[in-house]
Amino acid sequence: MGPVQLNEIKAVPYERSEVVKGYTDRSLHIDLTGNDIRVDPIDAAVKDRFTGGKGYDLWFMWQAVKGTTKWNDPENALCISAGPLGGTPGYPGGGKSIVTTISPLTGAPIDSNVGGYFGPYKKFSGFDVITLTGKADQDVVILIDGIESQIKIFSASDLPDNAYELSDALTRYFDEKKPVNISVVTAGPGAENTYFGCLNFSWYDAGRKRVRYKQAGRGGTGTVLADKKVKAVVARFGAVSMKSNQPADLEALKTVTKTHAKEINELDGKQNRMSLVGTTHLVPIMNDHDCLPTHNFKFGSHPEAAVIGEDVYEHIFDKGFDGCWRGCAVACSHGVKDFSPFTGPFKGTRVFVDGPEYETVAGCGSNLGIFDAHTILEINFYCDAYGLDTISVGTSIGFVMECFENGLITTEHTGGLALFFGNRFGALELIHQMAKGEGFGAIVGKGIRQMKQIFADKFNADPDFMQDIGMESKGLEFSEYITKESLAQQGGYGLALKGPQHDEAWLIFLDMVHNFMPTFENKAEALHWFPMFRTWFSLCGLCKLPWNDIVPEDNKDTKEPAKVMKHVQWYADFFSAITGKKTTPDDLIAMSETVYNFQRVFNLKMGTGTREHDTLPYRAMGPVTVEEYESRQDRYDKQLTDTYGMDISGMDTAARVAALRKERESQYEQLKDAVYDRRGWTKNGIPTKETVQRLGIDFPEVLEVLAANGVQ
């Protein structure tokens, strides 16, 4: 790789707005069509209503797009924000960025919460939120330089096209002497050629002297950046301290930061050991509880799962501090050094792999029948370098493999690849094809919803069977948990605003293992409170893992242990200390409820956001095939007889599959009713006029959207 050559095509100096009580009260707008750069003040009313982070992103996107806007229209906005609490060094999980855009997969807003230093650096450079609209006429790199107070746009040619080398090259180019001052957002060739391109957000790991990155994975945010011809967005900023946010009460901030960090330092080693194993402890736990996706979500466990869990990765991960934000005590963002891929452009070289996390192990391992820790590493490496979301990649290839094993597609369609479960080479080959937009990989890269259409139209595959086994909802591929035995988590996926991602609600254990929410009302209450609280992290620029992945020792003695209320109170104290607004745990929920309902109305504006869009493939609810039923026959037979009072003695397995399906589908519809009611929505899943009025989002445009959907 030669030296980086960038040609400056625009430079705009600006006066850096101080951060006061967590906010700069400024937004930066870059229209790439004319290289137009604008800095606007943010209204106090917007701040009051939308809090920041994802709330700001959605508000500015709402201004930018029309109901008819498609993901690749120039007016689609890609927004990145940090939130008022983001950028607090030492607070566990205290520095995330939140990305939103209209998704190529769903046609509606997608949001992703991601580590790396970009969000805080961008905020300290003077902007709570940036929006990118338009399309450049050549490849460009954008620099937000908070040290020199300049925004620059460069034309870029001959840059490395993969994110692995590009992040490194740009980090060194923009601050050779102090690479720690740089954070780079990049996509990659896979993002250009698929609908599920991710964004890599970097930070410089001073201990290892190398650039690391985390991914804003879901929904094709990288695809949108690539479509705008932006190769990278770079933020440059200097020293960050607890004072950088100019908190209202520095002492209170220090106290709550120290308290939370101390607890994690004391307890993580006794609990999930995330500072050693990341989230790979979940692999054996999910496997033991029959929740680990195996063979396209057909089964929830596999005897070989032990070789892809924490026992193995603990020994493979490179030792050292692995916080994706400064001083994060959880430090769970592990990686593997000196890995040598067997395939692709890096074959035979030595690379550093950032990951894998649980989702990648489950999606690109067990779900594909691949029980090989090193193949999973190679898939992880290439997905990141190419800018591909490992969750959509794993879930999509799982679907393809099941179609192949059932003869719905053959080697004639796949270009000769025999895509049976466990075909490690086949999975990797598909990923290389996706990156180039070639071969059968180009079809897989369109995601499951489009594949179902293409396989039915062109290959004559059975659409009903594909509807049942294609693990997507709203167009987004499922993240990696089996939900068949947890109705609440079926709601957690099906009723999630952006599609089936577990960051809104993860209720499997409370529901399935602990039977904590036996009634529809209990489940609906959980599907109100948990999505609201989890949303709050993205309003404020925080990571949710320190909330409930490390739990106080006395948590079990509290009134509501599932909510880990001691931590919720700390978050309220954190918010009070930075912003100066005296805040209670209930206030945090109220902040989220406003943004959550606004996002639901936004979905409605984009033509989704009603009951029919909260639909699940049946595999998320129960056994689709006789094989699946018979693999857990005792469980299902018992439910039919004991729960539903059926006499099944004269039924063959196919009849039992059908009987169970009828019951489970009906339960899911009843759950929708209960949740809509709890959220203040109509039976069609639309916020009522009273709800939007109560939340203060009854703007004329919102009311128009409601009225157009029959809500007066």
Binding site: I285, H502, N548, V551, K556, P561
Partner: protein, 65 residues
């Protein structure tokens, strides 16, 4: 003797994790424990025998990714 969440508890031959949890209060949300560093999940509580001198931590809640 075994150590459970840093507290000493008397060990009995053939004692399983399920036996241990029965004698403890407030274990409602315990679906996973670590025995000498190894994860054991609730479906195996009945069949997993605890060795003498084991160091055990009860994982209070499984929260998902």
């Amino acid at each position: 003797m075994i150590q459970v969440n840093d507290q000493p508890i008397e060990w009995k031959p053939d004692m399983t994790i399920a036996d241990l949890l029965k004698q403890m209060s407030d274990v409602r949300f315990c679906s996973v424990v670590r025995v000498n560093g190894k994860l054991i999940s609730s479906p195996r509580f009945d069949v997993t025998r605890i060795p003498d001198n084991a160091v055990i931590y009860l994982l209070p809640l499984v929260a998902g990714g």
